[in-house]
């Protein structure tokens, strides 16, 4: 494969331009859904053909910002996720750029056939926002904790899937998918999570970003797990382990080169996602490396079970989604390294 050849040429070079970049610091906490909401307003201001469909939870997924600002381009669909997706397709086929957002469990599962045929096969320029990602939803419990979307969206041809890591990246990603042609899905969360990326941190659809350099192990993460990965990596550094942290903000199309480089240079990988470990980010990374450069991987994620009610922190701990879990996974993968 072409990628492997690229690798052969670059394998022992240090790629990182971020190597000497300043550490990311936590700069307060804010849920990624607010970035989505603000990104929509920016798009609304820029383009008059951006329209938003409401699914009776506009205040939860922050489409309320757009609704308040551009009421004439906001359309309530009631509680009809499947058909709201179809209406979005019809709007897109009329030259509009429609966003439809609801909880991720319903944004990817209630309308899967519609995503498959009326968005993906139709190549309709629709943007789906899936909120309440993962168990950090908290008290609402299993039904509302979306843990399966990455697999469902990733398997559909033509789809683009982005999972921003913090508030600011969510805003950038929302704007980016709005300006990108084709059906896209953006995943964001309910609870406040650390803000740490900066205005100048690059975001590009399809491009992974190395947030911390390192050569003993690469932690490939997405969503708020990127922060957990950074915390783990900084702690590991103090313990003498040099861990690279890669923000895989686009799950589809996945940045094969970044993965292969990481594997070639670090020879051990940990993936971290607030999602089932089945068929999600860990799956995507495994597929690339199985084809390009077989490498030991440990998966941090929810291990094929449903979530449940509780405080977000309690749940993240119980389900093994903290920086401590990432550190254990690193220790484990380092033992497997050859």
């Amino acid at each position: 494969m072409a990628v492997a050849e690229v690798l052969n040429r670059s394998i022992s070079q240090t790629l990182s331009t971020n190597g000497s970049a300043p550490r990311f610091e936590m700069n307060g906490k804010k849920a990624t859904r607010f970035g989505f909401g603000e990104g929509l307003v920016v798009l609304g201001e820029k383009y008059d053909n951006v329209v938003v469909l409401g699914g009776d939870i506009t205040g939860s997924v922050m489409t309320s910002y757009f609704k308040d600002k551009f009421p004439e381009r906001f359309f309530s669909m009631g509680i009809t996720e499947a058909t709201a997706t179809l209406v979005a397709s019809g709007l897109a086929l009329s030259g509009m750029i429609p966003f439809f957002a609801t909880y991720g469990a319903f944004a990817s599962c209630r309308n899967t056939d519609m995503i498959r045929i009326s968005l993906a096969y139709n190549d309709a320029n629709v943007k789906i926002g899936g909120g309440h990602a993962g168990i950090s939803v908290g008290e609402d419990g299993a039904t509302h904790q979306a843990l399966e979307e990455m697999a469902i969206i990733r398997v559909m041809p033509n789809m683009t899937l982005v999972v921003p890591c913090d508030f600011l990246e969510a805003k950038k990603a929302t704007i980016a998918i709005g300006e990108h042609y084709g059906p896209c899905y953006i995943r964001f969360g309910r609870s406040d999570v650390p803000s740490f990326t900066r205005e100048d941190t690059p975001f590009e659809i399809g491009k992974a970003q190395t947030f911390k350099d390192g050569n003993d192990v690469a932690i490939i993460a997405c969503g708020p797990m990127v922060w957990e990965a950074l915390v783990a990596a900084y702690e590991l550094e103090a313990e003498g382990v040099s861990a690279r942290v890669i923000n895989m903000a686009t799950i589809k199309p996945i940045d094969r080169l970044a993965i292969v480089r990481a594997a070639g240079e670090c020879k051990a990988i940990v993936t971290a996602e607030e999602h089932q470990v089945t068929a999600g980010l860990g799956g995507a990374v495994s597929e690339v490396l199985a084809q390009e450069l077989p490498t030991p991987i440990e998966f941090v994620g929810v291990k094929d079970t449903f979530g449940g009610s509780g405080k977000p922190d309690e749940l993240m701990k119980y389900f093994g989604l903290t920086s401590a879990d990432i550190k254990s996974a690193v220790q484990k993968v380092l033992k497997r390294k050859q």
């Binding site: 009776d56 009631g78 009809t80 499947a82 609402d140 299993a142 079970t305 449940g308 119980y318």
Partner: protein
């Protein structure tokens, strides 16, 4: 020919085993929960008795929610009279001490978010200790934020929480009873009104009518409110009764905050042959608590502790 059976009740494979959260002991005794004796389910209960039970259900909802610090107030309070009538007016047949008894009538809460009212009802009927209400929404509680069958809570027939799904499940139960087992059990399902914009409600309605499921009673909690506003602003639903009529249901429209109208409606539903019944129960969201009444902003919020005290002081007798 044999029947292949598996134990399906109680499931109790809950998300991480049997270590349940402890209810707050002080509150348990403050509310007198340790001395509580379950209410009887009987057609002889007077309207006044049922009203009193409804008010107790409402108080329990408030207590559970203020402890949980999250959850849904409006729909549960508004529909308490429906639950009091169903579970204590001799409408549904059940045995709280034998909750999975094979000849029980079944209730499916299609509007899963309204579970505080169901939990409070079940506790008042003796399905589980009232103190457990105070564990609502806590880590590993059997009282999940939306009903989870995996927790094995007596009286929870199915997991729900994704709107529009419970009715189809109830239709399957009624089909099983009427067309396979050919018994005389009845199935009840409650949907929110916003919920009926989900297409699965109409698929389920078609199927129920196609198979003449006269053992099925659907109650639509017509409170004209949903999350984003008044239903007619968010998604116009009127005329609700005509819709179900056109889907070949027997339709009864009644005041869903009036016990005697509800009793008559359930009685009528039981007498209808050859088609399912839909009771369009007109309620007020938050009914019984002045500052919540008919206000959609109370759909999904718990009261603060001051608001809870105020609410409890209003919810007497």
């Amino acid at each position: 020919m044999a029947r292949l059976t598996h134990t399906i009740y109680p499931l109790a494979t809950g998300f991480h085993g049997p270590i349940r959260p402890e209810p707050n002991k002080e509150l348990v005794s403050k509310y007198g929960y340790e001395h509580f004796t379950a209410y009887k389910n009987s057609p002889d209960n007077s309207d006044e008795t049922l009203h009193e039970i409804a008010q107790e259900i409402r108080r329990d909802i408030i207590r559970a929610l203020v402890e949980a610090k999250s959850g849904h107030s409006g729909g549960p309070l508004g529909s308490a009279d429906i639950f009091a009538t169903l579970y204590f007016g001799g409408v549904m047949r059940y045995d709280a001490k034998n909750p999975w008894s094979p000849d029980r009538d079944r209730f499916v809460l299609s509007a899963g978010h309204m579970c505080p009212v169901l939990y409070a009802t079940l506790a008042n009927a003796g399905f589980f200790p009232k103190a457990e209400l105070l564990t609502l929404r806590k880590f590993n509680s059997r009282l999940q934020g939306h009903p989870g069958r995996d927790m094995g809570l007596p009286g929870i027939e199915s997991s729900t929480g994704s709107l529009g799904q419970g009715l189809g499940i109830a239709v399957g139960m009624a089909l099983s009873d009427k067309r396979v087992d050919k018994n005389d059990r009845r199935v009840y399902a409650l949907t929110g009104d916003g919920e009926i914009s989900e297409g699965e409600i109409w698929e389920a309605a078609l199927i129920a009518a196609h198979w003449d499921l006269d053992n099925l009673t659907v109650i639509v909690d017509r409170n004209n409110c949903q999350i984003d506003g008044r239903t007619e602003d968010v998604m116009k639903l009127n005329p609700v009764g005509d819709k179900f009529r056109a889907f070949n249901f027997h339709v009864i429209e009644c005041n869903g905050n009036n016990i005697s109208e509800l009793r008559a409606a359930f009685k009528e539903a039981q007498s209808i042959k050859g088609r399912p019944t839909c009771i369009v129960a007109e309620t007020f969201m938050g009914h019984g608590v002045s500052f919540m009444e008919d206000d959609y902003r109370w759909h999904g919020k718990p009261p603060t502790s001051e608001q809870a005290e105020q609410a409890l002081s209003e919810l007497v007798g």
